[in-house]
């Protein structure tokens, strides 16, 4: 076959607005910079690009990371609420410098002596810089004193083992003791399998603590974020006096895949999403992230 696959170099068209010399200079400069950064950060040039840009998994738009962060981790294009770390969430909700952590010394336990569990927890701690799947504390929200618990999905899917159950219970008890409103931001794959029956019992423990809280006549606002499932849905997440949810969060007891296996059919679009739960009467209100702090403040003040 006599087809010419590659044009000889001299036949390539030059960039319309750049003389060849200038083009060459720029290319050399980029190469040099890339090489330097490669050696400094030990990263590929493409990784650096990905590090600054993210793709929205809903609208597929390529977004500049900093724009997303400035927009409270909500897609500026389609409004998709991305998952938040506890640290970022607290920053968005608590007045600056007011969050005082409680229960920090309550750490992971291994009641089943489950192989590899504590090792995994250690490496996660290092990676995520957090020590368990929930952060609790007292803080002010627009000047109002509250007890705030925020789960973190980066730590074993926000699953509830003994430490999460104990920290949440402590937060509830602190709220009773100080007679402050309680707010829990939920994100969880459910009870933590690696701690077996002890995880299951955290559902009873937190629910019992909320029964006491309820008897004390105090306000509890539960905020459901993507995803809230399993044993957390079947305990404190569903027990708020007022239950809020972020838009389009997956909220349910059984996971979608398990239900599909049981029913032997595909689930309809929007099943187990916030809007679906609102329609079925299981949450009070869907609140966008940009409005969350103000809505919480309004509800707290209505209870004063």
């Amino acid at each position: 076959m006599g087809t010419v696959l590659f044009f000889p170099r001299e036949k390539r068209e030059p960039s319309p607005n750049l003389p060849n010399e200038v083009e060459k200079l720029i290319i050399d400069k980029v190469k040099k910079v890339n090489k330097q950064e490669k050696s400094v950060k030990n990263e590929k040039a493409s990784d650096m690009l990905i590090g600054k840009w993210i793709k929205c998994d809903n609208c597929k738009e390529i977004l500049y990371k900093e724009d997303v962060h400035k927009n409270l981790s909500v897609c500026p294009n389609c409004g998709k609420h991305f998952r938040l770390s506890a640290r970022r969430r607290i920053k968005q909700i608590a007045d600056e410098g007011t969050f005082e952590e409680i229960g920090k010394d309550i750490l992971t336990k291994d009641p089943l002596k489950f192989e590899g569990y504590l090792k995994k927890v250690e490496s996660l701690k290092e990676k995520t810089k957090i020590e368990e799947a929930v952060k609790c504390g007292t803080c002010k929200i627009n000047g109002e004193d509250v007890v705030l618990a925020v789960m973190d999905g980066n730590f074993l899917m926000g699953s509830m083992g003994s430490a999460v159950g104990e920290r949440i219970t402590l937060a509830i008890e602190t709220s009773i003791l100080k007679r402050l409103p309680l707010i829990i931001f939920c994100v969880s794959g459910g009870a933590r399998m690696q701690e077996g029956i002890v995880s299951l019992m955290q559902m009873a423990k937190t629910s019992a603590a909320l029964a006491k809280h309820n008897q004390s006549g105090l306000l509890y606002i539960s905020v459901l974020t993507d995803p809230t499932t399993g044993g957390v849905t079947a305990s404190f997440a569903s027990l708020g006096d007022i239950i809020l949810a972020e838009p389009n969060a997956l909220i349910g007891f059984a996971g979608p895949r398990v239900i599909e296996q049981t029913m032997k059919q595909k689930l309809p679009e929007g099943f187990q999403r916030s809007e679906f739960l609102l329609e079925h009467g299981f949450i009070d209100k869907i609140v966008e992230r940009k409005d969350m702090k103000d809505v919480l403040t309004q509800i707290i003040r209505l209870h004063k």
Partner: protein, 264 residues
């Protein structure tokens, strides 16, 4: 039968011919009248409940009910309750509180039903609500795991003052199959999972999750049912007598502390 493996006990706990909640209800108590419905949506046949006599006192009894034959098991949805089942249980428990009747629950379920309707009607909320309300009831509650006690579906009727297991019953966060598929990514490793999950009565007694183990004859409770019924009845009577000594406030506070220390 100390040499049985955890998986052996899972198998025994699931046997079709193993006595079910209604067998215990009909043999421990007299004058049982079954009450139906959650007054909201329907009547869930996988949970039975009503009023009965324990010798001379009236009690409320509730149990997750599997079938002993394939057809009945289907009618009972294999003992997997929907939200209306848990809400029926709660209605009967609140009724018990009103009339100052002790409550006895029998736990035997592979888990709460993971169906579309169950989700639409708030399975999570139903389970959560039961736990919250049970921890506040002013009457004694005795919970007995007679077969499979699996996940929140079991716990939804198992928040009480005394938690009892039959020797071959199992009680766990999830079925060993589910556990294996999540943690080992392989449901066929259920046997291994069962050994590691600490789900037998002995394990749970050691972990101070349960108060008492009721012995079973070789081969399971069905082989000498009268003996099991006798021992269980004796335990229920003693427990009610013991719990009746406490004031309502003490009863509730003790129940709170019982769960409060788990995982502390």
């Amino acid at each position: 039968m100390a040499d049985l493996s955890a998986w052996d006990r899972v198998t025994l706990a699931r046997m079709l011919e193993r006595p079910k909640s209604l067998d215990y209800i009909n043999n421990i108590f007299t004058d049982f009248i079954e009450l139906h419905g959650d007054r909201n949506f329907g009547d869930d046949k996988s949970i039975v409940g009503g009023i009965a006599k324990l010798d001379d006192i009236s009690v409320t009894v509730i149990g997750e009910q599997k079938g002993k034959k394939a057809k009945e098991n289907m009618e009972r949805n294999f003992g997997m309750p929907n939200p209306e089942g848990y809400r029926k249980a709660l209605r009967l428990m609140k009724q018990a509180e009103k009339f100052k009747r002790p409550i006895i629950t029998f736990i035997d379920t592979p888990g709460a039903y993971p169906g579309m309707g169950a989700e639409e009607r708030g399975q999570g909320e139903a389970i959560a609500r039961n736990m919250l309300e049970m921890s506040n009831l002013k009457v004694p509650i005795i919970c007995i795991v007679i077969g499979e006690g699996s996940s929140g579906g079991a716990l939804a009727i198992a928040v009480g003052d005394k938690i009892v297991m039959l020797e071959n019953a199992v009680y766990s966060i999830l079925s060993p199959e589910g556990f294996a598929s999540i943690l080992y990514k392989d449901a066929s490793k259920a046997k291994d999972a069962a050994e590691n999950m600490k789900m037998t009565a002995k394990d749970l007694k050691n972990m101070k999750i349960i108060d008492k183990i009721i012995d079973e004859p070789d081969g399971g409770a069905q082989n000498d049912f009268n003996q099991v019924v006798k021992e269980l009845k004796q335990y229920i009577k003693e427990s009610i007598k013991e719990l009746s000594k406490y004031s309502e406030e003490e009863l509730i506070e003790n129940r709170y502390q019982k769960f409060r220390i788990m995982g502390k």
